[in-house]
Symmetry: C2
Subunit: 338 residues, 2 copies
């Protein structure tokens, strides 16, 4: 690839339901020479995430919608190939949010230095040591306020965030750590690889009854990546003072009209059991980012925390990688290697 | 009435759906002479409350279900007519929780001294200055964490709790105070009597669209007495960081199978707008009871806080009073005068 051209994927149409290739276009642009205090980076990995689907809608949300005709924003990690900034030198590993492109060029402030991690691929900065791990930590510890001895239920547990939630729960002394995943293979990973006490294959039988059986003593904390029937199952199984951290609702992201869908049953349990249910976004908890890194990085480097990645090769396959998120093609964090 | 007999209403069958007279019986019992440190009280008023319907079911809840064959428990206020306790003298005004009976007799510790309030009827201790007012205060200030300038929506706003919520919100500097009530008469009370900025008659048109129109700038706090379509309307109109305090769900109390009812639409807004939704019961906030009395009593005594009562005469009409709660026959706190 030429280093003064940048190939980028842009959103050109707001998807109706499931996104399709025609909602995007790939462009290659000539890069101007670096201006003052600018940096040019060759990306090693870019991130594709379920939340991006939400930003494709033109609707009220916590972050503004993606603009049509603009390059898809998102986390990425790469190496500096040219710099006019005193803060960055050629070869530096950096993270940024400039998204789906092979070469990123911008003012120095758009980039953050990242520590070299030896044999660990830099893609970890898009996941376990990046926004994914931080999301898991904030939701579990700051939103749901996990306490030692709590029984925890995590939906989408084999996913990037979910598998981190389970491992952090274990480090923090949770008793039962029950995860749900789709299919026997992913479900097996929960106990065999990520240290969950129980795994539920939600495709095998209704999650409601499976969770009842898995948690005869009820659950105290629920980390929700899925919504819908999983949230309903949690509401049914909650003990008094149960706390739900709502991180995502992948079950409805691709509905053409999510607001037409009835909510879960068992809503009256919120009153009768004094439950709390909180939606959150990472950006409101960034004051704990340093705490997260200090508490979690050692366990990661020591290998106590493991993570799965699904690596798709090549920017030209980024769309397939993104689409694959919604049909469960990834195990763990989905990244695209450039 | 004889003062050594006590007439009492007991639950004898768990209601299926709406309670009926056959679920109860009235008994008159001979009272034994007072034992050591006991008190006999002639009730002036007893309380009938929607939450009592929940306790009639044999289900997991924050307080144990009523026992069959036992006298209905609940708040009451009366005067001491006989005492072997040094703490109580004949004529003292006391509150207690011994419920639906004309004469209450028990150990002294079952009774609490109440301040005389001059011309104000003692029934106020069952409402505005009692559990009702405290519930309003705790939900609004401690659960939903009202801040000055917030826009507030209150369902069941002409009710005992709802009308207190609105008035406390005003004292605390809320901007828009929007209440819903059933029918034009009750709705008019909200603005004319209780100082709400807007009243919505939910029987006139769907609450969803009416709230959208009443709150073009959205709502920040929702105090829920109703559940169902009202909760859905709140979810739709919430601003980012909106907080719901869920106090009751009278819309479903009499459903034979409340858990079969789908929840509200717009649940995904909990994630996309970082909403919080908390059920609560007063007993978890009693540490703020003193704060409540200190902050609110002066406004009540000065007449700044007003309240409505529906007084039904006679213990023999207590069941009709209770049933009337579910068909909206009360305006404000429903009490039975003995």
């Amino acid at each position: 690839m030429s280093e003064n051209k940048s190939t980028q994927i842009q959103l050109v149409r707001r998807p109706a339901g499931m996104p399709v290739a025609e909602d995007f276009r790939t462009v290659t642009v000539e890069l101007p020479d670096l201006g003052e205090n600018q940096v040019r980076v060759r990306n090693e990995f870019i991130s594709v995430d379920p939340y991006m689907r939400g930003r494709m809608n033109d609707s009220k949300s916590y972050i503004p919608p993606f603009e049509l005709g603009e390059t898809m924003q998102g986390s990425a990690v790469g190496r500096v190939i040219e710099s006019t900034s005193p803060e960055f030198s050629e070869g530096d590993l950096v993270t940024h949010f400039l998204g789906w492109r092979d070469i990123a060029q911008a003012d120095a402030q758009a980039f953050t230095q990242a520590q070299e991690l030896g044999d660990v691929a830099s893609s970890v900065y898009l996941g376990a040591l990046g926004l994914t791990g931080m999301t898991a930590y904030m939701g579990l510890m700051k939103v749901a306020e996990l306490k030692e001895g709590d029984n925890v239920f995590i939906s989408g547990a084999a996913g990037a965030v979910g598998s981190m939630v389970g491992q952090i729960a274990k480090l923090k002394g949770a008793r039962e750590i029950i995860g749900s995943a789709g299919g026997s293979e992913k479900t097996a990973l929960l106990t065999q690889r990520f240290g969950f006490t129980q795994g539920i294959d939600y495709k095998a039988a209704p999650i409601l009854t499976q969770l009842e059986e898995a948690a005869p003593n009820g659950i105290d904390v629920y980390f929700d990546n899925v919504g819908g029937d999983h949230l309903e199952a949690a509401l049914n199984s909650f003990n008094r003072y149960g706390r739900a951290a709502l991180c995502g609702a992948i079950s409805v992201y691709n509905e053409k009209d999510p607001n037409s869908i009835p909510g879960p049953r068992f809503m009256t349990n919120i009153v009768t059991r004094s439950l709390s249910m909180k939606g959150f976004v990472l950006q409101d908890y960034l004051q704990f980012a340093q705490e997260f890194r200090e508490e979690i990085a050692p366990h990661f480097i020591s290998g106590e925390i493991t993570y799965d990645e699904t690596v798709v090769e090549g920017l030209h396959n980024a769309l397939d990688a993104f689409f694959g998120l919604f049909s469960g093609k990834n195990t763990g964090k989905m990244v695209v290697e450039i």
